[in-house]
Each structure stands twice: as C-alpha cells, then as structure tokens.
Point group: C2
Chain length 119, copies 2
C-alpha cells in the first residue's frame, strides 16, 4: 500500500510552450510585489470604510473615529497606512486635520470589487 514520493512536475513540464508564452507576458516580480502591497491596503474593512466615507468628501480624524466603532488611535494608524500608499491626502486647519481621497483610481477599484461581490 506504500506509494512512491515522486517529486511532482520534474521530469517533464506539461506545457513548456504555454509556459514560455506566459512568462514573457507576466509583469516583472517587483511590480507584482508592489501591486500586492496596494491590494493589501484594500483588504481591511476598517480601511475600506474610511475610503468609502471619504468618497463623499473630506472628513477629520474625529469624524472618522465616530463613524466607526474603533478608537481614534486605530483610525490614525490606518490613515497613516493609506497616506503612505498615496490613497489619501490631508490638510491641516488649526488643530483639525482633514483627510480626503488622493487618487481617482480608488473609486474604480472599489466599484470593480463590489461588482464581483454582488455577482
């Protein structure tokens, strides 16, 4: 009943020609890595909620914290992440800091994802 442990896919690639074609068309690894970093940002419901809220216009940190059931600190940490990815920008007005969307792609990325969900 013992089965051999043959290392898979070593003796012959199944479709070397398809592989070569695909390999030539793939984005470079570094770019794939950057893209994954971007989508990681969208992969958290707190950050998504912030982005959706900012679709309607700028809001300050307090507003955002009040909107969600999380602490001011948590919002601030997430805003930093969004800021580092150039998805939001901010302006200061006295003690208050207003955040807004920095990129028009945000809305289209969100809506493409939503379409898939609603399938």
């Amino acid at each position: 009943m013992r089965r051999d442990l043959a290392p898979c896919c070593q003796e012959q690639q199944i479709h070397p020609e398809a592989l070569e074609k695909v390999r030539a068309l793939l984005p470079p690894d570094e770019r794939l890595y950057d893209l994954a970093e971007l989508f990681k940002i969208f992969g958290d419901s707190t950050r998504l909620k912030i982005l959706y809220a900012l679709l309607e216009g700028e809001l300050c940190v307090c507003d955002l914290a009040g909107l969600m059931a999380v602490s001011q600190s948590a919002v601030s940490h997430q805003l930093r992440v969004l800021k580092n990815s150039k998805l939001v920008k901010f302006r200061r007005e006295g003690k208050t800091i207003y955040y807004s969307l920095a990129d028009s792609h945000v809305e289209s990325i969100l809506s493409q994802g939503m379409e898939h969900i609603e399938e």
Copy 2:
C-alpha cells in the same frame, strides 16, 4: 509639563451633519467585510502571479508551480483560496487539472490597481 489626557472627540463631534450624510451612504458592514475579504485575495504576490498567468489562458498546477519559485504545495494551497473566492475555476483531464479565470472582473480589478501603481 504634565498634559491632560482628554479623551478625544467626545465632547462634540466636529461635523455631525457630514457624519450623518456619510453614514447613510456607506455600504453595510457585512458588505464591507466581504469586499475586504476579496481584496485580501489580491493582496499576495503569489496569487497575483497566478491570476496574471491565467489571463493568457488555462494552465495546470505543474505549469504554475514551474512559473513561480514556489512549491507545488504552495500553489495548490493558493489555488484553493482562489477557487473558494470564485476567482478561478478548473477542469480535470486525466491526472492533470487545468485552472482558468472564472470572472471577467479579475482583469479589470488588476488593471485598475496597476494604473495606480504606475501613476
């Protein structure tokens, strides 16, 4: 030099009217959660590479493992994730299983993200 620890944003919401407007337009929490789950899938470079490779047509697991610098097991695990999210589908042909994209949104989500990267 001691500063008070006033809990932030408790005594008065800064913009209650903006908050109410935004709150009414936000997607429900459950939907935001599902959307975050979807973007989480795109937030890994191994899975992104698989998706990009499948843009060109169907490939078997061995092909995909050969394309990337990861084990067959890792690819298989990730394909399961993609399958569970209905992003890929598969067909069996003898011992070989061919995977392909299941959803036309995949391409548009990828390209919207790429546009942001390339800014």
